[in-house]
């Protein structure tokens, strides 16, 4: 039971970690993306359509990434090039994608009433490692996307903190005018960040349809995009902090399933509220966003 709990902790943590790593990069560039939920939803839907019609997993992942990339490109035009309010634009994109996927689902698959299922993305067991007692099957028999999330945690964390590109990215988020004066192309930096995040949100969304459920229902993301937003804060804008926070929430979600099966009358809805309440608590205790980029959410228009 502990073994399956550990395995499902990681399974639950993977999609929110992927999306949160993207959001970390976006926020370091000075943009706040309220539309992660929409980008994930577009990825989830696109993955289903692509796998249903092509049958190929790679195709599903690529199409999912492309769909979320398109959503984030629209957001980039709005918040970077014409500098509209980032919060309202992100909220509008969430509504837009929820509407489009709802309409498109009906147009593509009709209303047959039967649940539409696709093949699952198979786990990738890492050979002898899976034979380690307890940890082996939990850690080394996961979806390829879970390994990717771990790998990206290391890469993103290192790149932001230790590379020249990371320094330039953070300059855009701390003081875009100064960054521009130093010859950094703030627009290009923020565009790149949003496109990168789009790919990760799309993969996070694809994980929901191709690994969790093998189907698509309206609102399948269930607030995970907002949990990703919360993870960035709780992880204090550090990749490994975010990964730890993702595991914590993955555990809370996994615990809910485990307990639901064994304990009756469990107020599991309160478990589901946990990430949100914890975010509020952490923010209150941090007294503001000491670790947040200074220019987060502030529009910057090129002279």
């Amino acid at each position: 039971m502990l073994e399956s709990f550990l395995a499902s902790t990681i399974a639950m943590a993977t999609p929110i970690l992927l999306a949160a790593l993207g959001e970390l990069v976006v926020e370091q560039s000075g943009v706040i993306n309220i539309g992660i939920e929409g980008a994930m939803l577009s990825g989830a839907f696109a993955a289903l359509v692509a796998v249903y019609f092509s049958g190929g997993m790679i195709c599903g992942l690529v199409v999912a990434a492309a769909a979320a990339l398109a959503v984030n490109a629209l957001l980039a035009v709005l918040v970077i090039n014409i500098a509209v309010n980032q919060v309202v634009a992100g909220t509008a994109l969430n509504l837009l994608v929820a509407g489009i996927t709802g309409v498109a689902y009906r147009e593509v698959f009709g209303v047959t009433g039967r649940a539409l299922t696709v093949r699952a993305l198979a786990p990738l067991p890492l050979g002898p490692l899976t034979r380690i007692p307890l940890l082996g099957p939990a850690l080394f028999d996961q979806s390829p996307l879970a390994y990717l999330a771990l790998l990206l945690t290391a890469i993103v964390g290192y790149a932001i903190a230790r590379t020249r590109a990371g320094l330039r990215l953070r300059a855009c988020g701390e003081h875009p005018e100064a960054a521009a004066a130093l010859g950094i192309n703030v627009y290009r930096m923020r565009w790149t960040a949003l496109l990168f995040a789009g790919v990760l949100s799309g993969l996070g969304g694809a994980y929901l349809t191709l690994v969790y459920t093998n189907t698509f229902v309206e609102g399948i993301t269930g607030g995970r995009g907002f949990v990703a937003l919360a993870l960035v804060i709780i992880g204090r804008w550090r990749a490994w902090g975010i990964a730890a926070a993702a595991l914590l929430f993955g555990a809370a979600m996994a615990l809910q399933f485990t307990l639901q099966a064994t304990v009756t009358n469990l107020p599991y809805q309160l478990f589901l509220a946990l990430p949100y309440l914890l975010t509020l608590l952490v923010l209150a205790l941090m007294s503001g966003q000491a670790a947040a980029p200074s220019a987060l959410g502030r529009s910057y228009l090129r002279e």
Partner: protein, 353 residues
């Protein structure tokens, strides 16, 4: 604010309708059939018209909540959670008011709803004013918390007597707002919403508090410099904003649903952002704007039957209207030096006029 200020809104609505019509054509759906279905469902009969007004009512309350906060550059995305908090408070005490006289019971229910929503708004206001926490993040988190608490309440402490259905017990008959125009569901909630839009207008444009709020919205630094108590204004505004949305939740409980259930709000708080933006944040314009969106919601099902296109298409229209208005506003803002809503920040501490 003159009627001319609403011209961009009309243009945005037309442009959104045009975009959707072209998309429908490409999908092989007849836009005229969709439009006639929509209109028929929204205004095709006296009952359809009154139901449009009923559907507009929560949107007026939430639209006012959004407009009030946005005027102060407080980005309250949490009208949905505040409405749910108000509904839970009202639906929670409703069944216990059986022995109360009708006017008192209804008043108590509405008051409790406003208090519930106000409390939910206060959390965001306090976090923002005292702990410097962005109200954008806090209100989103409070939306999800409220939705989960509602789900827990109707499965647990508030579940109806037979414990068979995940819904709360019906509120006492004395606490129900009567439907004077049966069979239509038209009720006094609509009138209350209209009165409040007038009061909100006076508050925003004719009172010292409204002046302070708008000054802070334009430039918090200058407002502080002129000795305005920004902390108090921020907390008061988010409490009032939450109370308006909470009242909307209570009206829904006392007049329409009489009980609570999961997914009580279909997203009124988010739709209200479109309502408020189309009204250019003017409380008086929020009533017609909400009726427009109420008509979309009400006609959506009929459109689905007539043209075979999903009712959530309406959500696409709402989103497009917001995006187009933002884009218009940004263009105007550059010409005039600053727009109503842009460029601005979620943490308005950095906004300067």
């Amino acid at each position: 604010m003159s009627a001319r200020a609403l011209l961009p809104s009309l243009a945005a609505l037309l442009l959104a309708a045009l975009l959707v019509a072209v998309t429908l054509l490409l999908l092989g759906v007849s836009p005229t059939r969709a439009a006639t279905g929509l209109l028929d469902g929204a205004f095709g009969s006296p009952l359809a018209i009154t139901d449009t007004l009923v559907k507009a009512t929560p949107l007026i309350f939430c639209g006012l909540a959004v407009a009030l906060a946005f005027e102060g550059a407080l980005w309250n995305i949490g009208a949905d959670g505040q409405l749910i908090a108000g509904a839970v408070a009202a639906g929670g005490i409703g069944p216990r008011l059986a022995s109360w006289p009708h006017p008192l019971a209804v008043s108590a229910l509405l008051l409790v709803g406003a208090l519930g929503g106000g409390a939910w708004g206060w959390i965001a206001g306090w976090l923002r004013a005292r702990r410097n926490v962005s109200e954008v993040i806090s209100t989103i988190m409070l939306n999800y918390s409220a939705a989960q608490i509602l789900a827990w309440a109707v499965h647990g402490p508030l579940i109806e007597a037979s414990r068979a259905f995940p819904e709360s017990s019906a509120i006492a008959a004395s606490a129900r707002l009567q439907l004077y125009f049966a069979p239509s569901r038209l009720n006094l909630g609509m009138a209350l919403a209209a009165v409040l839009s007038g009061l909100a207008y006076l508050y925003l444009y004719r009172s010292a508090w409204g002046f302070a709020l708008r000054a802070i919205g334009r430039s918090p630094r200058a407002a502080t410099f002129h000795g305005l108590a920004t902390t108090r204004v921020i907390i008061t505004t988010l409490v009032l904003s939450g109370a308006l949305a909470g009242l909307g939740g209570a009206v829904q409980v006392t007049a329409i649903t009489h009980r609570l259930y999961e997914a009580f709000s279909p997203g009124w708080g988010y739709e209200a952002i479109a309502v408020a933006l189309v009204a250019r944040l003017n409380p008086l314009a929020i009533v017609p704007s909400a009726i427009f969106f109420g008509a979309l919601d009400n006609g959506a099902q009929a459109m689905q039957r007539a043209a075979g296109v999903s009712a959530v298409l309406v959500q696409v229209i709402e989103a497009l209207v917001i995006i187009i208005l933002l884009a218009f506003d940004s263009a105007a803002g550059r010409r005039l030096g600053r727009g109503l809503l842009s460029p601005a920040t979620p943490d308005s501490a950095e906004v300067d006029a």
